[in-house]
Structures are given as C-alpha cells and as structure tokens.
Amino acid sequence: MSIPAELKYTKDHEWIKLEGGVATVGVTEFAQSELGEIVFADLPAIGKQVTAGSPFCVLESTKAASDVYAPIAGTVKAVNAALSDDPTKVNTSPYGDGWLAKLEGIDESELTALMTAEQYAKHIGQ
C-alpha cells in the first residue's frame, strides 16, 4: 500500500497535505481498497465550517456509505468537482486526482498531532 512520506495521516485513513496555508484532504490507498469501487462522493458545500474529527464527506460504494472525517478544523475552500463525473478517481488516484476537499482558515499546529507516514504504516499493519 502506498503511503506518501510527505503527507500526514489520521487513524480513520484520511490524509492531509499543507500548501500555502491551505490543506488538501483525501483518503488513503488502504481506505479506497477497503471501501471498494466508489460510486458517489458526497462532498460538503463551499464555506462549510468543519471541526476536527467530524464527518464532512461521505464516500458511497454499492454496498455502503462511509463517513470521511475532517483531520483538522477549517472552512471548506474547494471540493473536487471532477468526482461527480468519475468518483472512481478516489480508487485509482487516492493521493492525486482523487482528492476530496481543500480547507482554509486552519491552525497549522493541529497537523503535528496527526500521524506520520511511518506511524500510519504501523497503524495499518504494514
């Protein structure tokens, strides 16, 4: 399972990347393989305020709907509109084209509490 070294991770299999004060959030390769083929991504409204650990997206497979939790607090700046045409990008490119949302108005220090790639690898038993 791919676990890019430059990202931070949560125990619920989200990843987060910080670039210029904006955090991009997605789910890990492990998560997408557990979820199965995504048939619908329910993404939040622009401007929605999220708290750390609260569910803010839903990824739907044929069998079930799964919550995605915000790794840190912030305001939704953008969502990945490409997923409405092709939600399987979450499966084929979970760290790239399959990103879910971008958060702004964040507190960068909240990222230090999250897992490193090495810690996440241990978490999923790799």
Binding site: G36, E37, V39, F40, E60, T62, A65
Partner: protein, 361 residues
C-alpha cells in the same frame, strides 16, 4: 457466530468476511461491481448455505401448508416449486419462502437465514393440522449458480447435467459423484440459474466442481453485496426491507402470491379487510434524479412537502448504472412518473417513480 461449510473456502478465495443474520459470510471477493456484472454476463456462484430447509410430510402436509402460507400449493405437481409467504394474523410477513413439492405428502420449504428457527417455531405453534415439520437446516449446504452460462456450466458436470432440462421453478434430485443433490431452477438474481441443496459435508466438493467447470465460462464467486444489488435490480423483496411482520403483505407488493379464493389461512381475514377498505400504500421503484444515493429507511416526501412513506432499499446498481431504490409510499403518489423526494442526511433528493422491475433478462 455460525459458519457455512464453505467458510474456509471463502477465506482461501480472498473473500471479505462479514457477519450477516448471525452467519460469517463473504460480502465480496473481487468486488461487488465485477461480481454483479459477471452474474449478468456470464455466471456467479453464491454460498447460500445460511438459508433454512424445513421438511413437511404426512397426509396433512398439504392442508397445513395451505393454512400456514399465503399461496395455493394445491396447484403444485410433483417436482414443481412455488414462491409464497408465511403471514401473521395482521397480514404482515413472517417470512417469504419457496415451497417445493416432492409429492402430495412431502414438501421442502426454503426459508430465509435469519428466520429459520423462527419460522420453524411458528409452524410448530400453528400446526393445527398435525403435519410433521422437521427443521433440517443444519443438514444442508446450499449453492446458487446464476447467469446466462449457468446451464452450460452444469452440462460439464456428470450427474449435475441431469438438471439442465429443468424448466423454471421445477426441481429434481440428481446424483453427483454419489452425492444426492436437490437441483432447482430458481434464483434471486433475475438471471437463469439453479439453486442446489447439498448435504452439508459435501458442499465444498460441489462448490469446487462448479468453480472448475465454470472457469472457462466466466464464472466468478460472488458475495452478499452482489446478491443484494442483483435482487434489487430485479425488484425481488428482501425480508427486513420490503417485507416484515409490521408491514402489510399487500403494501409490500405480495398480492400476487396471496390467494383469497383458497380456504382459510393465517392473515386472510386481516388482508381481506384491508382490501375492502382499500390498500393505502404500495411498493414503488424509483430513480434518483438529483445527485446522490438513497438507501433503506429514508423518509419519502411528496412535492408539496407531505411525508408519504419510507424507502426500503436502494443503491447505485452496476447493470442499470443509476441511483435507484424501492419505497412503500401512499398510493396517491405511486403512479409511474410521480415526483417524490427522499431525505438523505437532512437533504431532500428528487426522485421519480418508474416501472418495475428495473432489470429484466
């Protein structure tokens, strides 16, 4: 937690094991979508050993089943099967079943996994005809082979190929490598296919024979996830969703297997009264026309905001390729073309009532 005879086999095949109705079973192997698609285009193999088998025998067997179930089994001939329901006094559904007639004095009733013991207790409690009921669920494994290549696959297997001539809803016992297998041309997917009742200890052998024979014909092992998406496309009801003790069998859409012109049966009085008064709700199929997926137990509203019922099942299914579902709603909004709204996570998604079934082979 119960396991079927095929448990180790599922793990060896990479099945993702979940708990369902008290049983450990695979929800998927390769994935719900490829398994569903394989069943529609080639063939799928399903472990349905969790289903229950109750035998009814004796001179009172027919009378007992006529009283305890909704359909008219006196029209059956030897080797024929019939779908029906066990109703309670209110006209709700204790379980949906298939009755297989061996002879006038011997029947097999296949019941749902979660209900096997419950159904047996129900039969025993209401057995005023004193027929002989035997719960043989533990003695049988069950495998379903479904898909356009199902017949071609069994034609490769000596003994099992004797079932190839069976017509829909007929069954016979065949001998496969010395093992007696009950083969029925029935299924829960909307495809052609067979369901095999096998002595529990021989289930793995028959599974292996089928998997091997089907390898060159596109056969894939399929889990509960695909089983559900397939039956939903065919609009087959599922107990606990479209059917339940608290839902009128008429509202569930089972009118076609309730025979009011036979003698007395449990539920008859309640349902006759309901028919006279006018059945208030009906089971509809719908497409979701706003972006989103609607699953079971969501509230349904009319365009003018009135709550009109609840969804019973739903997802985006692989063959139809649309977000769809089933719901039991007020009859006044059940005409094909009606716009209804299903609430998902606080948001109302527009849906449209469509003709059932979604899929026909």
């Amino acid at each position: 937690m119960k396991v079927t005879p095929l448990y180790e086999k599922h793990k060896a095949l990479g099945g993702k094991i979940v708990t369902f109705a008290g049983w450990e079973l695979p929800v998927q192997y390769a994935g719900v979508i490829p398994e569903h698609t394989a069943t529609r285009t080639a063939a799928g193999l399903f472990d349905v050993s969790h289903m229950g088998e109750i035998f009814v025998t004796g001179p009172e067997a027919e009378a007992a089943i006529m009283y305890l179930t909704s359909n008219n089994i006196s029209t059956l001939t030897d080797g024929k099967a019939q779908y029906g329901a066990i109703l309670n006094e209110k006209g709700g559904v204790v379980d949906d079943i298939i009755v297989y007639r061996y002879s006038k004095e011997r029947y097999l009733i296949c019941v749902n996994a979660s209900n096997a013991d419950n159904d047996f207790a129900w039969f025993t409690k209401h057995n005023k005809h004193n027929a002989k009921f035997e719960n043989k669920s533990a003695e049988y494994g069950q495998i379903a082979l479904q898909g356009p290549n199902a017949q071609k696959i069994i034609e490769q297997i000596p003994g099992l190929r004797d079932a190839a001539a069976l017509t829909y809803f007929h069954f016979k016992e065949v001998s496969v490598a010395g093992v007696t297998v009950i083969a029925a041309r029935t299924g829960y997917t909307g495809e052609d296919g067979f369901e095999f009742f096998i002595p529990a200890s021989q289930t793995v052998d028959i599974w292996n024979l089928l998997l091997e024979a089907g390898a060159s014909l596109g056969l894939q092992p399929c889990g509960l996830g695909a089983r559900d998406s397939l039956r939903l496309e065919a609009c087959y009801p599922l107990h606990g969703h479209e059917l339940g003790e608290e839902i009128s069998a008429l509202e569930s859409g089972l009118g076609w297997v309730i025979k009011f012109d036979k003698g007395d049966f449990i539920g008859k009085t309640a349902l006759e009264a309901e028919k006279s008064a006018g059945v208030k709700r009906s089971l509809v199929g719908f497409f979701v026309t706003d972006p989103g997926i609607v699953r079971e137990n969501e509230k349904v509203f009319s365009a003018d905001g009135k709550e009109i019922g609840k969804t019973t099942s739903g997802t985006k299914t692989p063959t139809i390729g649309k977000s769809l579902g089933l719901a039991i709603i007020d009859k006044s909004h059940s005409a094909v073309g009606s716009k209804i709204f299903c609430e998902v996570r606080g948001k109302k998604l527009q849906c449209e009532v469509v003709q059932k079934p979604f899929y026909k082979r």
